[in-house]
Every structure is written in structure tokens, then in C-alpha cells.
């Protein structure tokens, strides 16, 4: 049996483009997932009932359906609602930001709940409003406590971005599958991308482990 790895070298630019898309999708979804997730977490911890219920419903919904289904669903639904063909790439961005917010929400909620009641009172006693207390006292500490969890979620997210290939987006796996089909080198191609995914994820998770130890020292 012959393996043709030289074809992979020939398609390296195309794969690089795919990897760049995967990375940018990961960063975009992480950023908006954290921003939106923070708001959701605050809503979930709010004493305002409707806000609390709406946020809980949102989080429970997205945590109870498979990501793959949500990707399909948005790919079909967004053009139907907006009347604009947004395309696979853009709809993947929207899907991931919305979906990941639910997961980031739960991490950030745990972070906020890790802050003692006394800190909340101290901020209030200084005259901070709810928003100021969140911004200057609670969230900075909450985030510091959950940085490793946020990064772990980002690594999972990076791996999950490979699912977008099902709607034809050209992420790393999407690019790989296109080349694999064109040149008929599936074994070589899928081995190569597996190594790429593994290397990136593994290196990042080692970094998280180090960070964990570093944070434990600060505390």
C-alpha cells in the first residue's frame, strides 16, 4: 500500500486557509461567547424573575441539543428569517457564538458564585451600584478563578469547530475533506489533520495546566 504525503505538501496553502478559518471561528466564538455568557450568567443570578427564567431557558435549551443540529438548524433558518443568504461561513460564526454562550455562561456563573457574600457587601458598602460592583469587584475575581475552565472550554470549542464542515464551510477539516476527495488521499489527509488538531489541543491543554498551578500560587 502506498501513501502519498507529497499531495499534502501541495495543498498546504489550502489547509492553512482552513486552519485560519478554524482559529478565527474559535476566537470569535470565545470572545462573543464570553461577553454574551457573562450577561447570561448575571441574568441567571438575578433576582428579577423573568430575566432569570429567560436566561435559564436559553442555557438549558442550548445545552440540551447537539451542536451539529444547531449548526444545521441555523444554516437553514437564518436565510429563511432574514431573507439574506448568509452562507455557511457566516452562519457558523453566529451559531457558535450563540451556542457557546450557554456553556461559557455556566462557567462564569460558577465563577461569580465563588465570590464570597462579604466581597459583594464590601463593594455595596463603598457605594458601588450593581453594575460597578460587578465590573470592579466581582467579575475580575470571578474570571481569575475560572480562567483555566474558560481555556479548557475554548479547546473543546476549537475541536468542535470541525463540525461546520457538514454545511460546507471551509475550516481545517472542511479543507482537508475537499482535498481528500479531489486527490483521493483520504488516509493521508485525515491522519494529517488529526495530527494538527491533536498538536494544537495538546499544547494548549498543557498551557492550561501550567496556568492552573500559577493561579494556585497567587491565591
Amino acid at each position: 500500500m502506498d501513501f502519498n504525503f507529497s499531495a499534502i505538501v501541495d495543498s498546504k496553502d489550502f489547509l492553512w486557509e482552513g486552519l485560519k478559518y478554524s482559529a478565527s471561528l474559535t476566537l470569535f466564538a470565545t470572545f462573543f461567547g464570553i461577553v454574551f455568557g457573562t450577561l447570561l450568567a448575571m441574568a441567571r443570578l438575578s433576582s428579577i424573575k423573568p430575566l432569570n427564567l429567560a436566561a435559564s431557558a436559553y442555557v438549558n435549551l442550548f445545552r440540551s441539543v447537539p451542536l451539529l443540529l444547531v449548526i444545521f438548524w441555523f444554516y437553514i433558518l437564518v436565510p429563511l428569517i432574514s431573507g439574506v443568504q448568509v452562507g455557511a461561513d457566516k452562519s457558523a460564526y453566529i451559531t457558535f457564538a450563540i451556542f457557546e454562550a450557554a456553556y461559557f455562561c455556566e462557567i462564569i456563573r460558577a465563577g461569580i458564585q465563588s465570590i464570597s457574600r462579604g466581597q459583594v457587601s464590601a463593594g455595596q458598602a463603598m457605594g458601588f451600584t450593581y453594575a460597578q460592583n460587578m465590573r470592579y469587584v466581582i467579575l475580575p475575581q470571578a474570571f481569575r478563578n475560572v480562567v483555566p475552565l474558560l481555556l479548557t472550554q475554548t479547546i473543546i470549542l476549537f475541536q468542535d469547530t470541525s463540525l461546520v464542515y457538514v454545511v460546507g464551510a471551509t475550516d481545517l477539516l472542511g479543507a482537508a475533506s475537499k482535498v481528500a476527495n479531489r486527490d483521493y488521499i483520504p488516509v493521508e489527509m485525515y491522519v494529517t489533520v488529526a495530527v494538527i488538531y491533536f498538536t494544537i489541543s495538546f499544547v494548549l491543554s498543557r498551557l492550561v495546566k501550567r496556568l492552573h498551578t500559577a493561579i494556585a500560587v497567587i491565591r
Binding site: 462579604g118 466581597q119 458601588f128 475575581q141
Partner: protein, 242 residues
Amino acid sequence: MISIKNVSKWYGNFQVLTDCTTEVKKGEVVVVCGPSGSGKSTLIKTVNALEPFQKGDIVVDGISIADPKTNLPKLRSRVGMVFQHFELFPHLTITDNLAIAQQKVLGRSRDEARAKGAKLLERVGLSAHAAKFPGQLSGGQQQRVAIARALAMDPIVMLFDEPTSALDPEMVNEVLDVMVQLAHEGMTMMCVTHEMGFARKVANRVIFMDKGKIEEDCSKEDFFGSPRGERAQLFLSKILQH
């Protein structure tokens, strides 16, 4: 300055405060004592609305706390509070702990806030620690910073919620010294504490609480001379035994 009128509070069916009425006049130092679970910490926390209450009212400098229209953050910014467990902000340096609320709540400039903070830090004898984080200081030092942080807001009254009960014995005095000095300067103070030496030295009045009720509310002389109630006598005999 502070007028507590018929305040009652319940946690579900359990009543923690029963019809509490008292007053702290301008320049007065009032010590609140009583056995644990008597509601004294809860009472002091109702004064700046950290603890809500269901009945009665508290008026601080003419502003009603029970009034839903009251801007509570604004009111709280004028009332200094010192906590049992210090509650400095662990992610900020001492300098920033002293400056942040001045800047964000009172709108002072960074330089102004830092200058004020530095002055107060010097006053509590901790200038050398300005760049450190709270976790690097001892309990007594942290509590002195916490007092300075509250003073930086130019409060009209200071509330102390058991400021020395989480401290190692050798650090109690450094904190009490700062409090005594404040009292001598005429600061209006309401202190929940078991430090009877402090009460004897600077208190104008002593309030004794038991089971959520104010049992004694009298001058220091009367309280230490001849507490009327049986429970106050028992309490005093217990804590003054050694």
C-alpha cells in the same frame, strides 16, 4: 445622625430583629454588644441597607432607608463600613483598594484619590505597604487598611461590625488604637464589638442585645456600673471573667 425606629426583620418565620429602636447622635460613639446570634451584626447591617428589614424605618442623616425612592448606593457611599473579615479587594493593590471607590463613586481624579489614600495609609501607619496586595498583609494590617478605605470616602458615620473578632490577639490593639483615635477626633461611630476595654474608653452609650431585642440602651457609666437586666449582667460577668 442615625435613627433606628421600630425595626423588625424576619428570615422566613424566624424573627431576627424585634422592634429595635435607638439612635446615634452626631459625634457619638455607640457600642453594640451581646451574645452571638443576638442580632447585633444584622442590626448594624440594616443601617446601610446591606440587610433588608420588613418593618420600621432607619433614617440616616435625614434620609429614610425604607423609602423605595432612596438612592441606596449614594447613601452607602456616605456611610463607612468595616467588616469582621476585612473584605479588602484581593485583586487590587492597597493603593487601588483605597482609591477605586473614590474615583468611581465620588468621581475624584486618579491623582486626588491616590493622594487622599496615601494620606490615610500614612495615618494608619502602613505607607510602606502601598504597592502590596491584601493577601501579603497580616490581619491587623488589613483591617487598618479597611478602616482607611472607609475613611477615604469622607463618611459622615462609621459602622464597625466586629472589627477585631477575626484577629489574632496580638493584632487587636493596633486596630483598636486606630478606632480610639477616630473616636477622639469626633467621628460618629456605631461599633458591634466585644472589646469592653474599648467601650469603657471611648463609648458614650452601650447597647446590649439579646435574641433580636435591644435589652439595654444606656450610658457607658450605667452599663458598666449597674446593668439593669439580668441577661446583660450574665453576659458581662461571662466576658469580664478573665
